[in-house]
């Protein structure tokens, strides 16, 4: 039996933080979730960026909006057949929204009609920058660490932390960020987003992560910790490179007003923050071990969500509505009896 416990940052650490119960049934036991609402947009957005980067490296040019659309339509079908679902009802709309992030002037949404995508229209300058300055895309982090003393991963000695870093950029010239995540509690890595300008300089290493949601997500603190941990592990793998100058959260849901640049949040990096991020992550891994240990004692008593007060919070509830484990989840049922009614057939 292997002495290594494998942990994926997004699937396990973030999933477990949102709802230990759902995580335990889905990831630990393997009861497959039957719907992954919103996963479609995220998956398509990541795929789009990866495809664009490959295209740029191969041809030295950016593709046309309609070419991207064709790739996205193909990808949509593949994902759908694998059970990935969208928040939006129509394929064309989902694809158009992703294409719009890259080519804002090429896409329009006429009222009551299908979206229109035209060949003309320039690529968004931020996206162009991500593509042309990419040092690595989809950089896979595999990091082995000894498990801390007193952990509850019976029989395991080490943990293999896995994550995929969307993009590592080495800036070629200056770039301005208008929003900065300022950390006020460096131990817990919490803080707030400030409207403040910082500029990158040529040669800066930046760790970017794409998010399919909007920047006002309540999970922003977790995203910051995730990125700082990735930056720490990236730096461990590349000790000869300078410390990454900053991490950047890129929220790809196009803002109704303003530009994509307004959806970038920069997180300045220091070695101290990276150390704290690693410690925080190891603490979360220990928490996963505790949850498993409790689950072994009684699967029925698995803890639910993060809202406290006996009910799930509003943000989590959006996901609970599609959770396969909701039918006997008492805290969720308290506020959402209808959602947990097995006889309902108008809802999956």
């Amino acid at each position: 039996m292997s002495d290594v416990y494998q942990v994926s940052y997004t699937g396990d650490i973030l999933g477990h933080r949102r709802c230990p119960r759902a995580w335990l049934y889905e990831r630990h036991v393997g009861l497959r979730p039957y719907e992954q609402v919103q996963a479609m947009e995220g998956n398509l957005a990541h795929f789009a960026m990866e495809w664009l980067t490959k295209h740029y490296r191969k041809h030295g040019t950016y593709p046309k909006a309609t070419q991207l659309e064709q790739e996205m339509l193909k990808r949509f079908s593949v994902l759908r057949s694998r059970g990935i679902r969208s928040e939006f009802a129509k394929k064309a709309e989902v694809v158009a929204r992703v294409v719009e992030v890259v080519y804002p002037q090429s896409v329009s949404f006429p009222k009551g009609a299908a979206p229109v995508i035209v060949e003309t229209g320039a690529i968004d300058p931020i996206v162009a920058k991500c593509i042309s300055c990419a040092l690595h895309t989809e950089y896979e982090i595999k990091h082995v660490r000894a498990l801390p003393a007193g952990h509850k991963f019976s029989g395991k000695k080490q943990v293999l932390l896995r994550g995929i870093l969307d993009l590592v950029i080495q800036q070629e010239d200056s770039m301005e960020f208008s929003r900065v995540y300022e950390i006020t509690d460096p131990i817990n890595l919490t803080g707030s987003v400030a409207e403040k300008s910082i500029k990158s300089v040529s040669g800066d290493i930046e760790i970017w992560d794409y998010k399919a949601s909007k920047p006002d997500t309540p999970y922003i603190h977790d995203y910051v910790r995730q990125l700082l941990t990735y930056a720490a592990l990236y730096h461990r793998n590349n000790p000869e490179e300078p410390l990454p100058a900053r991490c950047v959260l890129a929220f790809l849901r196009r803002p109704k007003k303003g530009t994509l640049q307004d959806h970038l949040i920069a997180i300045p990096v220091t070695q101290e923050l990276l150390d704290h991020a690693e410690s925080w992550t190891m603490g979360q891994i220990t928490g996963i071990g505790d949850s498993i240990s409790d689950f072994i004692a009684s699967p029925a008593a698995a803890k639910v969500g993060t809202g406290g007060c006996g009910t799930v919070d509003k943000e989590l509830a959006k996901q609970c509505t599609a959770c396969g484990q909701r039918f006997d989840c008492d805290p969720y049922a308290k506020g959402h009896v209808g959602d947990c009614d097995r006889s309902r057939i108008d809802k999956n």
Binding site: S2, V29, L31, R80, K142, Q158, P239, P299, F327, K347
Partner: protein
């Protein structure tokens, strides 16, 4: 970094991870293995058991990255299983990090190793990812790789299509491939196996052995399968080609996927397009390579077209021919052995290094296992090597003879002494290894189940047991079975009305092929007949919960939790079609309930949710995987497990299910009724549990103490003959008698078949670190439980002692 610095940092890193530093003196094999000699293109590392081969392979990769500057993404590291690939990934990451940190501490600069870019995986996954990356046509099609379970399902579905409609393919299979007595004798011994399994075996051999060895050789016409050219099975080669094409067409049309064999064939076809992308291929467990995999590995060296400005392609393979145990799955140890000769033939510089120190086992175990190997494996079937123990002599190797029940009690008693008890950590890790660990009746005779007898003895001693190959997941009492049965009942309930013609009660269901009985079913008959496996599962489940022949919509069980599930599904069967009818006339919203959503609802009910933290809970997870496999793969139909379950009613008000619902239940039934389901390997349930494992499963593992039993499996020459004939080579005197039994006069076949059987036992015995005990019940009555002849001869003249329990012990020592 200089060469001297590399070795200094390497030894520091080994100490950092708690290992002994390497001896760097002249004559020590390790540095010769790790260092890449520019003059050598192919290195074969012949590594005996417990010799630390994986560690050497990992350090050679690191040398390649650090000292040769080979870019990480140009290194291919392949091994036999996904689990082994994961372990290699962990080991490589760990050693790389230890190396970088040791170097920094010593003030030595290390370049960015980009370790995450090394391509590590099974050969199938690597073929898939390389094809996706470098072959546009493959990427554009977005072909998916089927795992073994899915392949099995699709093979059954494909065959079922032939049974109900495809005359040409069915005739080719039944008449040409499986029709001749000699091929039936080889592929369908004693007629015990299903036609599609035999066909799957033939197609796998055709692709994995015949294709690389007999076809596409420049300047030569395709050679016939030897069954055709020498043993009179006319038309076989062409028939297999046609069937292969039809099977591939089915895969690419319906699930848009390839199975493990097809992906390799596809890769071999396209290999020339990737020659410039890879510089060094490393193959672990090379002894279990099959001919098509060998063609791929060797193809990296010989396929023309590599850019001459690139460094010469390198191949490093590691393995032990004496541990080759997968011939039954198509591997051929001949690949391992022929590498040197093939290199000579192609003038490729070759070298061999031998790792002969055994760091794992005590002197007595090494000595015994070597005595066994030398005697049981014919010399011509094994490469010359010596295995030297590093540890002291240790405990004697024991042969304990007595009734099986007493032997089981003996094992339980010794396990207790070593601290095995529910919930506590044992002092030593022990395991029992059997040829088959199945706890289903059958393998060892109708009622004999040695693994379950052992489980009972260990249970009685309050010892937790882990036996992932117990094969009881598919039994009627399993949740997999119950979930399938209730879904089958929901869609196509079995009832037992009176037959109007005879007045006697008779089972009926809409899925029956008999028109009159199907018409009496409470569900509208589907437009085509799906496989009826689900009805078999349903009937067995009802027998368990409600009693024999107690079928019908009003039947009740004594288990209220089961009744709750039935009531729920009966209501749903009533309301769902009505809701769809209302939707059709525009008076209601579209129903959104999907099959996956229904399964999620069922699993939340007490019948299933009360499983606690047990294997039953994990079998539910296995069921959700099966149900997803059964439907999500059907991409061409556009039906996903997340699509709403569509159902209408006929004029009589009977539910009339969408054809895709029938497809789902047919596929699921095929899978559950027809497959041999293994339990999921749940690590937390195995923690501190006493393992009962098969010989094959034990490969790659080690335990302080091993009990070895069921060493008497009869020598099976069929896999050797299959390798031979699909390689185009005849077997002397091969014929079949009127009762279907095979005969041959080829001593070579016997030698290789004996070697295959002995290697399984050799692998099992070399897992032991401190103590090896062989168990034997001479009166067990089952041939698999007999004692291997060579083991018997090694103990033959040793004195016997009697234990208090009446068991006889003989001890072997150096």
């Amino acid at each position: 970094m200089t060469e001297v610095e590399f070795w200094r940092v390497l030894n520091k890193s080994l100490m950092r991870v708690g290992r002994k530093p390497l001896k760097l003196s002249k004559g020590s094999p390790e540095p010769l293995i790790i260092k890449i000699d520019p003059k050598v293109q192919v290195l074969r590392i012949l590594a005996g058991p417990g010799s630390g081969k994986t560690e050497m392979l990992v350090w050679r990769v690191l040398y390649d990255l650090i000292m040769c500057g080979t870019p990480a993404e140009r290194i291919l590291l392949t091994t036999f299983t996904r689990k082994a690939a994961e372990e290699l990934t962990v080991r490589l990451s760990e050693r790389a990090e230890a190396f970088v940190h040791s170097a920094i501490k010593m003030g030595i600069t290390v370049p960015d190793l980009k370790i995450h870019d090394v391509r590590i995986g099974t050969i199938h996954s690597l073929c898939d990812s390389l094809l996706s990356e470098f072959v546009d046509a493959y990427y554009q099609q977005d072909i998916r790789l089927l795992d073994e379970l899915e392949t099995d399902l699709h093979l059954r579905k494909w065959w079922w299509q032939q049974v109900v409609g495809g005359t040409q393919v069915r005739n080719l299979a039944n008449r040409t491939v499986l029709g001749a007595p000699i091929s039936r004798g080889l592929l369908r011994p004693n007629n015990w196996t299903d036609a599609q399994i035999s066909l799957g075996l033939a197609l796998a051999h055709h692709t994995e052995t015949w294709l690389p060895r007999c076809s596409g050789i420049p300047g030569k016409p395709d050679q016939h399968n030897a069954l055709e050219s020498h043993h009179g099975v006319s038309g076989l080669t062409a028939a297999l080609k046609t069937l292969q094409e039809d099977w591939t067409t089915y895969l690419l049309d319906k699930p848009l996927a390839l199975d493990f064999t097809q992906i390799q064939a596809q890769f071999l076809d396209c290999q020339s397009m990737m020659l410039d992308q890879i510089d060094h291929v490393y193959v672990d467990e090379f002894q279990d390579t099959n001919p098509i995999q060998y063609a791929i590995h060797f193809g990296w060296l010989t396929t023309p077209g590599r850019d001459p400005d690139l460094p010469p392609m390198r191949l490093t393979v590691v393995g032990d021919d004496d541990q080759s145990i997968y011939r039954f799955r198509g591997s051929d140890v001949g690949c391992f052995m022929s590498l040197e000769g093939d290199c000579k033939k192609h003038k490729i510089p070759f070298r061999q290094e031998i790792l002969q120190n055994n760091y794992r086992s005590s002197g007595n175990i090494v000595s015994f296992s070597q005595a066994y190997r030398n005697s049981a494996i014919p010399a011509k079937c094994s490469l010359k090597k010596v295995v030297t123990p590093v540890k002291g002599a240790g405990a004697t190797v024991r042969l304990i003879t007595g009734p099986w029940d007493d032997l089981c009690a003996f094992v339980a008693k010794e396990a207790q002494k070593n601290g095995y008890r529910r919930g506590s950590k044992p002092k030593k890790e022990m395991a029992t290894l059997l040829f088959s660990a199945s706890e289903k009746a059958g393998r060892y005779g109708a009622s004999a189940k040695p693994a379950s007898d052992l489980r009972a003895a260990l249970d009685a001693a309050n010892i937790e047991v882990a036996n992932p190959r117990n094969k009881i997941a598919g039994l009627t009492s399993s949740h997999v079975h119950t979930l399938t049965a209730v879904l089958s009942w929901f869609i196509d309930p079995l009832t037992r009305p009176r037959n109007p013609a005879t007045g006697k009660p008779k089972r009926c269901a809409a899925g029956f092929r008999d028109d009159s009985m199907a018409a009496m079913a409470p569900t509208v008959r589907p437009s085509w007949v799906p496989d009826q496996g689900h009805l078999k599962v349903q009937a067995q489940c009802w027998e368990l919960f409600c009693g024999k022949n107690n079928l019908g919509p009003t039947v009740r069980s004594s288990d209220p939790d089961f009744n709750e599930v039935l009531d729920y599904l009966a209501d749903l069967r009533d309301t769902l079609p009505k809701a769809w009818v209302k939707f059709d006339v525009g008076t209601s919203k579209k129903p959104r309930l999907t099959l996956a959503g229904l399964v999620a609802r069922l699993i939340s009910m007490p019948l299933f949710r009360s499983a606690g933290y047990s294997m039953e809970l994990f079998r539910q997870a296995m069921f959700t995987e099966l149900s997803e496999t059964a439907i999500a793969a059907s991409r061409s139909t556009g039906f996903s497990i997340d699509d709403p379950i569509e159902v209408r009613t006929d004029v009589a008000g009977k539910p009339d299910w969408d054809s895709r619902v029938w497809d789902f239940i047919g596929s699921l039934g095929l899978m559950v009724a027809g497959s041999s389901l293994n339990d999921p390997e749940v690590e937390t349930l195995q923690q501190h549990a006493f393992p009962i494992l098969t010989f094959h499963q034990s490969k790659g593992l080690e335990y302080d103490e091993i009990y070895l039993a069921a060493t008497g499996r009869p020598v099976d020459s069929i896999p050797v003959i299959l390798t031979r004939v699909f390689s185009g080579d005849p077997v002397n005197g091969l014929k079949v008698d009127s009762s279907g039994d095979l005969f041959y006069t080829d001593p070579d076949v016997d030698d290789w078949a004996r070697a295959d059987a002995a290697r399984e036992i050799y692998v099992a015995m070399t897992r032991a670190k401190d103590r090896l005990t062989i168990l034997h019940d001479p009166d067990h009555g089952d041939r698999f439980m007999a004692l291997d002849d060579t083991i018997a001869s090694l103990f033959a003249k040793l004195p016997e002692k009697k234990t208090k329990d009446g068991l006889i012990i003989q001890e072997w020592k150096v």
